[in-house]
Symmetry: C2
Subunit: 181 residues, 2 copies
């Protein structure tokens, strides 16, 4: 059995649907450190969890990185969303021409070693809040190859672009390969 | 000997000047977790350091908490400053009437137990960047009882109001009391 350590049932359901091996949700809280990259945060979390979980396990963390804001809100995306929200991000981006941004998702999987799988979705920050689907920054993020925000897309359409979908795909490929050997 | 675990020589000098017992600067990096309060961040840091430092030691962490932004940038003040800076904060505060804010400083001291000393400086966010003294958010913070920003004050004047000064005072009182018993 592979455990997904999270308290976010939404993420659990999303990932469970995208893979063809069994996982189980397990809620153990672990420290998320202040760092520059999602990889550092995830590695620290895994090391904390190693002797607390009996079996293989993984964690997932994601964030929105805006180029003109030097990567803000980055690894603090969830805290920033709770405090200043999408309105705050749009205010910071007023009169900013370079609207380039990317969503990143990192899955860290422990099976005796730490394996990192990263998915990136490039795109830009919209000028206004659009759509009410998804969650978090979805209504202000327009992925490359579309003119709609994630907030305006059905889940299936969003999954074609999604950073989390890409990380999950790499993870699933690894599991498949591992079973082969 | 009491060790101050920090990599910030500026803070070390500032605190050293404000106390009448001996401290020594020691640079060991420790994880800063993502949390709601400075106290949680400091406690986690102390627990990490306990078996790495031979003797009594303390750490200091501070942050700016803006009421209208739900406490943002809070425990992430240093990261937020590096990414969006004072310009970013002023942009977020455009057309915001309630400009109430406070600086907080937490000193966590370990001498067999964890002791927390907290200093708060209440004030408000200015409408523009003023002054070039101090560092960080000093040029946009006006403490209660003044009409100047910290950025416009000499160090001595700033220290009368300072959150860090207040935390250091509580810490020094504790050391004095401890020596008495």
């Amino acid at each position: 059995m592979i455990y997904f350590i999270t308290s976010n049932r939404h993420k659990y359901e999303e990932i469970k649907k995208a893979i063809d091996f069994e996982i189980e949700m397990l809620t153990i809280s672990y420290p998320e450190i202040q760092a520059e990259s999602l990889e550092e945060v995830a590695k620290y979390g895994i090391e904390y969890l190693i002797d607390k979980v009996n079996g293989d396990f993984f964690i997932e963390d994601s964030g929105l990185f805006i180029k003109a804001l030097n990567g803000f809100p980055g690894v603090y995306s969830s805290y920033v969303f709770k405090t200043i929200g999408n309105e705050g991000i749009l205010k910071l981006m007023e009169k900013v021409e370079d609207r380039e941004a990317e969503f990143q998702s990192v899955i860290a999987f422990y099976d005796g070693d730490i394996n990192i799988f990263k998915g990136i979705c490039k795109g830009k920050i919209s000028k206004e809040i659009k759509g009410n689907r998804g969650f978090g920054y979805d209504p202000i993020f327009i992925p490359e190859g579309s003119d709609k925000t994630f907030g305006e897309m059905e889940r299936e359409e969003k999954n074609k672009f999604s950073h989390r979908g890409k990380a999950v795909k790499k993870f699933a490929d690894y599991i498949k390969m591992r079973e082969f050997y």
